[in-house]
């Protein structure tokens, strides 16, 4: 490939790729997995969502206006926040605002550091940088928040008795919930730590692959990928800690009592 940009894909190329999904459908039939409908639905959803996003991005790139970029960013963060809460089995009143607030706060902070302090984009609102950076941070932070929150809420429900035993033995609020908080943050941040450990050996990160495909020299692409990893690690840690601490703040009162009455089981 030359440095003049990637080979353009035609509609026919996409159709050939789509034919590959028939392989999955065939497997489903052969093994009577009954997943044909699910596979078709997921594949269709993926195509429609990505085409729509492509169109929206083209439009925002065309505007290249700070408000349009921030607006799209907020929308993406709110959707990510909603997604992280939607996966929770246990809910409490105010869980959505917590998810949204933490998601917007942590991802915007980390992305701002990248735009102003690391990549030094000028002007900062160039959508080509701001949107993909934010998107990658959001995707990973979402996982951290979802996992951390799930652990802390399940823990409050199932381990209430153990927390109470520590309380009756004279533990402060902090002493009683410290183990649960630690464990939840560990669960939330483990995937990104694993991803960093295997990066480049087992997996070639998607962004780096994309840059290489579009003609960027590999070493440049790697440098970007390193920055991205640190950004998403920071975003995930901030988001996970925020979600765990925020949930505990709302669900454990000043005297250390678990307000399990505020937790509702949505079922799976």
């Amino acid at each position: 490939m030359t440095g003049e940009g990637p080979i353009h894909l035609t509609a026919g190329d996409l159709l050939v790729a789509a034919a590959l999904i028939l392989l999955n459908a065939g497997l489903s039939l052969a093994m009577s997995l009954g997943m044909g409908r699910t596979i078709a639905f997921a594949a269709t959803r993926m195509v429609v969502q990505l085409l729509a996003v492509g169109a929206i991005l083209e439009w925002v790139f065309g505007l290249s206006h700070p408000l349009a970029v921030v607006g799209l960013g907020v929308l993406m963060a709110l959707l990510a926040g909603r997604e992280s809460v939607a996966r929770q089995r246990y809910r409490y009143t105010g869980i959505y605002p917590v998810g949204w607030g933490i998601m917007v706060g942590s991802s915007f902070l980390v992305t701002a550091v990248a735009l102003f302090g690391i990549v030094s984009v000028d002007p900062w609102y160039q959508p080509q940088y701001a949107i993909p950076l934010l998107g990658m941070v959001l995707g990973n932070t979402l996982n951290g928040i979802a996992l951390g929150m799930d652990r802390v809420l399940t823990g409050l429900k199932r381990e209430q008795g153990a927390i109470e035993l520590l309380l009756v033995l004279g533990a402060t609020r902090r002493e009683a919930i410290r183990n649960l908080a630690r464990e939840s943050v560990r669960v939330g941040t483990t995937p990104i730590i694993n991803a960093m450990s295997v990066a480049g050996i087992v997996s070639l990160p998607g962004m780096m692959t994309g840059q290489i495909l579009s003609g960027t020299p590999p070493v440049e692409a790697v440098k970007y990928q390193i920055v991205i990893f640190f950004l998403i690690a920071a975003g995930t840690a901030l988001g996970t800690v925020g979600a765990v601490v925020g949930s505990l703040r709302l669900l454990v009162d000043g005297r250390g009592r678990v307000r399990s009455d505020l937790l509702r089981d949505k079922g799976r």
């Binding site: 008795g161 035993l165 309380l167 009756v168 033995l169 004279g170 533990a171 183990n179 250390g256 009592r257």
Partner: protein
């Protein structure tokens, strides 16, 4: 009711006093160190028992009066229990570990919810003896029991709970068993102690 006395549930009405002071004005750990509560089915978490003991010993408000390890032994638990994971213990072992932790503090009031409910007669006897000994050391004890004979054997004042109505105290131990048998055996609180607090 014991949960509300232990400050674990918000009371639906009324006020909690300890020696004339509102509990709301005291810090929760300070209050709970003085008024300790043993749930009927305590949960110890999933760490090894040894880790739990160390965790509790490190609490900033903990005023320890004895080593919980000696307590374990006196309640008939072998030393090897320290190495076991707390969630692998039987319910009887769990209650006794929790009780040993409770007794190793210097609480002035112990709220016990059927401490011998899950124990075989021999362990139950060891628990009764240990708690009676504690009562002689000026600790007030509120013991919930469904066992009429146990109440007569160790109690010195009987409170009975019928619906939402607390009756008593009755101070004639020989009358306890019959009083309890007359009532629904599911609804009995019995207490004894050196002081009446809370």
């Amino acid at each position: 009711m014991l949960r509300a006395l232990a400050d674990l549930d918000r009371a639906s009405g009324g006020e909690l006093l300890l020696e004339g002071r509102t509990v709301r004005e005291m810090s929760a750990p300070a209050y709970r160190s003085r008024v300790a509560y043993l749930p009927a089915t305590p949960q110890l978490g999933s760490a090894p028992v040894k880790g739990l003991l160390e965790q509790v010993a490190a609490f900033q408000h903990r005023r320890r009066c004895s080593d919980p390890r000696t307590g374990l032994e006196r309640l008939g638990l072998p030393e090897s229990i320290l190495e076991r994971s707390a969630d692998e213990l039987s319910s009887g072992e769990t209650v006794r570990v929790a009780l040993a932790l409770l007794l190793s503090g210097d609480a002035e009031v112990l709220l016990l919810d059927e401490p011998t409910g899950t124990l075989d007669p021999r362990s139950a006897r060891a628990v009764e003896e240990r708690i009676q000994e504690r009562a002689r050391e000026d600790t007030s004890i509120l013991w919930v029991s469904h066992d009429p004979d146990q109440a007569g054997r160790i109690g010195d004042a009987l409170l009975t709970l019928e619906g939402a109505c607390l009756n008593g105290p009755l101070r004639e131990p020989r009358l306890f068993p019959d009083t309890i048998r007359r009532l629904d055996p599911e609804a009995t609180i019995q207490s004894w102690g050196a002081q009446d607090d809370g």
